[in-house]
Subunit: 242 residues, 3 copies
């Protein structure tokens, strides 16, 4: 299974062209659109989102990940193996949390070169072919990285910020519920929020936080929109007050 | 064929995670995205939309349907068989019109339990695996329902409201053209609208109604947007005046 | 490989219903979503976009193209073969640039008729079945066109206008970089823009043009949005000043 995680948006030709590459090089492989709307040009917020969602997928999954504001510049192009899953994309911190949370991980510099590499679309020309190779069982086409230029040791283990707003207006944080003190109260946009199990446990219009289906702390409003009702967007701070 | 009908929106990880479940449990099955933008949290409008569009699909199709504002609460989780098609989702009225219009139908309570059921994402954890079982030819994993708590006998046979606005601004109603008196005039947003066969039969800017490609009465403006030009949204009333 | 190029938008049932037809008639064929958001009702801008993007695909690809404001009217329904690729859709100029740039091309009138042809959705009822036939290796179900009513000889070889705005706010023009004088300056929205190789070659906030990954001249702003920052939309003129 090849899983797509990008900030390409839903519109336009970018995801389609990557899939055209994948279907030619790995014809019978299932391709899953996980996120096409990861935080645009924001590898840090994306790194927490990816780590939370990748954990749910089975071993063997290959994640083709393109949040790549530095495309065409000096950032390395890498392959990460972490707990029997593969990740392909730019070495800009996007895989920092995947690696940090893995029991066993290693990182490769991509040494394979396509016939033609456009300066602005490595997703199609470089990362997609490499993902197809890995999904087909080929070894990583590169050498083990010797430096840590792709790592971000200063980033925290959990991010006390909003990292994603979904279609319903729910606001995901970069905090794992398992790391939160039991019975914690969160301060978000000047409001104190308590834990609820699910939406229907709260009256209409009430804001609360809950553990989403991938283990992240998520802010929601029953029959409302947390983004609009609380004024939240990607980057809004979240504070654990007790 | 498994057909997705949800209010998950196009963004975010929800449809992708459901498809990841489907591809693992029913690897060679085609999965079709029918609606990802059914009326949010509105099983009633969605029920008329689903019944109109499901009718077009061939026998054997399995519809995985998630418009589920009560997820995690007391609403039943059900399987409906209707005229050799299968429907899986919440028992909140979403299948009311499918059942009412079927020649032969029965309803099952889902008794299968996943290893882990998140309180907020039954689409992924419960409904998707059951849809994959049915698509693979397995019998429904449950017992025939004995009560009618999932039915909505008070809902009309056709809904005189706008139930969906499409990308072009056309406004679908919950009325089937076949049920409309011949030559009827519709009163919508203070305007009287007449029937046209198709867009190019009317001058630019003219509002009219026509039978859409799935048999529903639809309001449109040639080279315009009915939603904006007439001020229509989901729930706007439509009146048959002659 | 069947490639979809439409103005249906991402929402709604239109693309899904076309794919349901394709999966029934050509079950094992890969279907790629290239554009679902081609310029709405604008076959001219779409023709330049299609020609640029289709060039990237391998021989044998079948393009199912629906930008069809005249659906249900008198425009012909056609099949174009151009340099070993197939194109199916309305004969309203949409294939003008594909044909003009091809070494070898011919055009067929579709003579096959579906059992039921809705007046408003030829994409599903007519073009999708024909695309599936071609992808399955069947001969074109029609006769070679004898007139040129589907052609647009007055359209230029390259279009000096914005033809598409992408998710990042980048503005594609209908100009091929290969046709631009070396070192040309472009006048766009009252600004003079110079060529850059890629985004990271320019300071944040700087507007420039570059060759996009499909050979088109594209206007961008590093870490900004060209559409908003320069006030661009589909149809905005672009002038080559030197």
């Amino acid at each position: 299974m090849i899983v797509l995680f990008t900030d390409f948006g839903l519109q336009g030709p970018y995801t389609g062209q990557m899939k055209a590459v994948l279907t030619q090089r790995a014809p019978d492989m299932a391709v899953i659109d996980l996120f096409a709307d990861a935080p645009v040009g924001n590898p840090k917020a994306s790194a927490y989102l990816l780590a939370a969602y990748a954990a749910w997928f089975p071993a063997g999954a290959v994640f083709l990940c393109v949040i790549d504001p530095g495309v065409g510049g000096v950032r390395p192009a890498i392959i990460v193996e972490a707990d029997s899953k593969w990740y392909v994309g730019p070495g800009n911190g996007l895989f920092e949390l995947v690696q940090r949370r893995a029991e066993k991980t290693q990182c490769f510099d991509i040494e394979w070169k396509p016939e033609r590499l456009s300066p602005s679309f490595h997703g199609r020309d470089l990362f997609a072919p490499v993902a197809a190779m890995l999904a087909s069982g080929e070894p990583p086409p590169g050498k083990i990285r010797r430096d840590c230029a792709d790592r971000q040791p200063d980033w925290p283990d959990d991010l006390s910020e909003i990292i994603y707003i979904d279609h319903f207006g729910n606001a995901m944080t970069g905090l794992r519920m398992a790391m939160l003190p039991g019975g914690a109260t969160l301060a978000v946009a000047g409001q104190l929020l308590e834990l609820a199990r699910t939406f229907s446990d709260r009256p209409p219009g009430a804001a609360f936080y809950y553990e989403n289906a991938n283990g992240l702390v998520e802010i929601a409003v029953n029959q409302g929109r947390a983004d609009r009702d609380l004024g939240l967007s990607v980057g809004s701070p979240v504070k654990i007050v007790s």
